[in-house]
Amino acid sequence: MTTITEQEVAPKLTAKDFASNQEVKWCPGCGDYSILKQVQTVFPDFGIPKEDIVFISGIGCAARFTYYMDTYGMHSIHGRAAAIASGLKGLNPKLSVWVVSGDGDAFSIGGNHFIHLMRKNFDLNYLVFNNQIYGLTKGQYSPTSEKGKVAKSTPYGSVEEPFNPSELALGAKCSFVSRSLDRDPKHMQMVLKRAHEHKGTSFVEIYQNCTVFNDGAFFAYSEKETKQEQSIYLEHGKPLLFSNGTKGIKLDGTTPVIVNLGENGNSANDLWIHDEHDKTKAHIIASFFDTEYNGVHFPRPFGVIYSEDRPTCEDGMEHQIEELIARKGRPSLDKILSGDKTWTIL
């Protein structure tokens, strides 16, 4: 890998420097365009040489992302990007590795790799463009589609429960769980930056609108009329406020309760203060999805739900080798070839 010395520091890169020469071919109006733009916008701030960045994707509309970044990249096979990325990162821990996936790629065909990647905690970033539908195969329900979804393969509605990706990631011991959405560029940039800064597997779920097969799936969280009631933005150390600051969430034991501020003496001081490092509370926040508490529906959380510092898999592998070599020395190949027990025929 190239290391950059001070003399060689190049002028700061721009978003344009990260655009490849390939024509972007998503459908007009696709949420993927916004994600590509936000990634290209924040990357110069990371200060990583382009050659040290690698995008690995699987199959699906989202997976084409790799071709549009002027970095190293591999557009691989369906569901396996996580496994390929882990091999790459395991071999060369100095690289900045980004996996781009979709809801089918990550949670259906790649479900096994997804959960094990979270558990193993390689230091890489896993972006899932969740549009709750299969786009590239033209409109079948996905593992995140809502129950009852009418789609190509479910003309009478899906009978299955969807995954809640945040709960899935937390359950799989993910060390960084977050959510953002295509229509909030600033928020997405913030989350991408946080994901990059986190050492360990950073899971970023991005709600992404599919204009052709599932248009408006997330409008409740992005459009002016409903956004304030339906979404809540998390900030570490700040109270859980939503609805333009008129409502908040407090904890009654382990039960979250929505309160109207100013009513019954409720003030912001009584609210639940978001602590990214509290796993128990992260589980409760992640459950603001389809769980109702006392019959009450809760707003969908966005931001960093959980983050935790714990050793990465690649560091574990490297340290074990270093420690063993320090203790036992590196054997010569001749020693390995001969082994311990030999005999000689004269």
Partner: protein, 625 residues
């Protein structure tokens, strides 16, 4: 056994000088027969015999005790001459219980020796083994054509270890050492090797070490002092080529071969693997070589294992994945990706009986056509196959050389027989190994400082530009690519051209591999036996014996199965008959007939067992008639 000299050595014991002896250790899965066999083997190897082993055990870890399903066997053929197979039949059968006798008696030579533990022949064990009520082969004369030594090993061991302070379970577990000691006495082999082994293994449990050594010696003394045994055997050291040897199994040789490949190429080794019988030992062995900067990654499944290896190769490592049949099936899609990516990758398939779960612990050669054609689309890949335990080293090294120098995944086939079997290996030194040439791209290779990831060299292989290399950023993927630029292309003619280029690249490897030549026999003649993989030992033995008997036969053995050596068609056309024995239904046969239009004759055995020498000799003689 082939005896040379008989002499009386006093008392009532005769020492017979034998050229080679086959022993079958057979008992219940829990009787420690694999360990006993291995210790006997290592001792024989250490004192200069040539040998070949065949461990055979059930797929179940602890099959029902005492039943025929639970019988675990270890066969060793050791000699003062060159040995290439574990032997068709055995001279000595050690049967620790009734089930072991029942399963393994049919392949004991007439007049052979049976050593039994009578404790394993009580009413319960006889019943479990399926003998009719009241029948006992040790008592009813069914063994009258054999020399039978009956002893209550369990009781003798208990008496030996009375007062040792060990529990009954631990005492019973030592009974295999009694048998081993007796056999060491009987075959005139020293106990030192095993005593050292026991002391190392139980370094922290001195009481257990002492008990095992005491039992081992008791077994020896039992042979020496009781007057039951009147014959001992001695097998002189073999006249093997001069040099330093070690004993090695195929899986171990594969692991070492991979470490050597990493060192000779200067690439860091990255193994992605998922446990599967009979390939797991490669993962186990390689995991011990972390001090050689080897990274081993036990993946969540077979697919992740190959994908991690692909990721590592993409990053500039020597990516390897090891598996067996069912795992190979799971890896197939990813193997297609590696094929179109054109990156180095080594895939080791330790073949076992199939299809599906098949016979996990038994051997077969039935994945050749899968290796050849297993991918969807046109996806030719190089294939190499190992022909003996030690040859796994050479073969996997050759796989690595082809993978790296020709930028392609390579399939390396071994099988359960040679993976678990072992033989003495005159191992090479590092300076005897050829370097593996790796060139990473560091400079643009296209117009205006652009990088063309699919620009080809004289081998038709493409540059390997790894992440971290300044100025060579590029994207590769599973979609068809335009020539040179590697950009996505759906152009019809381009797809045709790329398909052809990928195939030509693999064919071109034939320019870089040795020509085919007979291993024994002449390069033209009446009959050539063409083999690949682990049938080598049996074919070699059969053909050499027939040559000695004056028949016009030859043996050609293939390491490279795709592409074939360039002269193979011409070589085969020089024989009146070509016989292809395979532990499958005729897979190489199909390839050879299709490619060279020679009327080769197939000889199949799909029984989870290797060919015996006599099976092959009979078949050859039938054709020569």
């Amino acid at each position: 056994m082939e005896s040379i000299v008989e002499q009386n050595v006093g008392h009532d014991t005769t020492l017979i000088e034998a050229e080679s002896i086959v022993i079958r250790f057979s008992g219940d899965s829990g009787d420690g027969m694999q360990l006993t066999g291995t210790q006997f083997t290592d001792t024989a190897a250490f004192f200069g015999n040539d040998l070949s082993t065949f461990p055979e055990f059930p797929a179940e870890i602890r099959a029902p005790i005492g039943t025929t399903a639970g019988v675990s066997g270890f066969q060793v053929n050791f000699g003062s001459k060159e040995i290439f197979t574990p032997g068709d039949e055995y001279d000595v059968l050690v049967a620790m219980n009734a089930a072991a006798l029942k399963v393994d008696l049919p392949r004991l030579k007439k007049g052979g020796i049976i050593i039994t533990n009578t404790a394993g022949f009580d009413k319960k064990n006889l019943g479990l083994a399926g003998y009719p009520d009241g029948a006992n082969p040790l008592e009813d004369g069914t063994l009258e054509n054999y020399t039978v030594h009956k002893m209550d090993v369990t009781k003798l061991t208990k008496e030996c270890l009375a007062g040792s302070g060990l529990g009954m379970k631990e005492i019973e577990r030592s009974k295999n050492m009694f048998v081993l000691g007796l056999l060491f006495w009987m075959f005139d082999e020293p106990m030192d090797y095993t005593i050292n082994f026991i002391n190392e293994k139980f370094a922290k449990k001195q009481d257990i070490a002492d008990a095992n050594i005491k039992t081992l010696k008791a077994g020896w003394n039992f042979g020496d002092h009781t007057e039951i045994f009147t014959t001992r055997f001695h097998v002189a050291p073999a006249k093997l080529p001069k040099g330093t040897y070690r004993n090695i199994s195929g899986n171990h040789a594969t692991a070492i071969g991979l470490v050597a490949a990493a060192e000779m190429s200067g690439l860091p080794l990255y193994l992605g693997s998922y446990p599967i019988t009979p390939a797991s030992d490669v993962l186990h062995e390689l995991s011990k070589y972390k001090t050689s900067n080897v990274k081993t990654f036990q993946a969540e499944d077979e697919i992740a294992a190959i994908c991690a290896a692909i990721g590592a190769s993409y990053g500039g490592g020597l990516g390897v994945t090891t598996t067996s049949g069912p795992g190979m099936s799971l890896k197939t899609e990813a193997l297609g990706l590696a094929t179109i990516l054109e990156i180095p990758l080594i895939v080791v398939n330790v073949q076992r009986g199939g299809p599906s779960t098949g016979l996990p612990t038994k051997t077969e050669q039935s994945d050749l056509l899968q290796a050849m054609y297993g991918r969807h689309g046109e996806g030719p890949l190089p294939i190499v196959a190992a022909c003996s335990p030690a040859d796994c080293f050479n073969t996997v090294l050759e796989a690595a050389r082809i993978a790296v120098e020709h930028m392609t995944p390579v399939i390396c086939l071994t099988d359960g027989y040679i993976a678990n079997g072992s033989e003495p290996w005159r191992f090479p030194t590092k300076d005897q190994l050829a370097p593996i040439n790796v060139t990473f791209a560091t400079e643009p290779n296209g117009p205006n400082g652009t990088f063309l990831p699919y620009k080809r060299d004289e081998k038709l292989s493409r540059p390997w530009a790894i992440p971290g290399t300044k100025g060579l950023m590029h994207r590769i993927g599973g979609l068809e690519k335009a020539q040179e630029t590697g950009n996505v292309s759906y152009d019809a003619k381009n797809h045709g051209a790329m398909t052809k280029l990928r195939a030509e690249k693999i064919e071109k490897i034939a320019d870089y591999i040795p020509l085919a030549a007979p291993d024994s026999g002449k390069s033209t003649g009446k009959l050539a036996v063409l083999g690949w993989g682990s049938t080598s030992g049996s074919i070699k033995t059969a053909v050499r014996e027939l040559l000695e008997e004056g028949h016009d036969v030859a043996h050609i053995h293939l390491r490279h199965l795709n592409p074939f050596p360039k002269n193979l068609g011409e070589l085969l056309s020089g024989y009146e008959h070509v016989l292809i024995p395979e532990m499958n239904c005729g897979q190489l046969l199909q390839l050879i007939r299709a490619k060279y239009l020679v009327p080769a004759i197939g000889f199949s055995k799909v029984q989870g067992l290797p060919f015996t020498t006599s099976e092959l000799k009979n078949k050859i003689l039938e054709i020569l008639k």
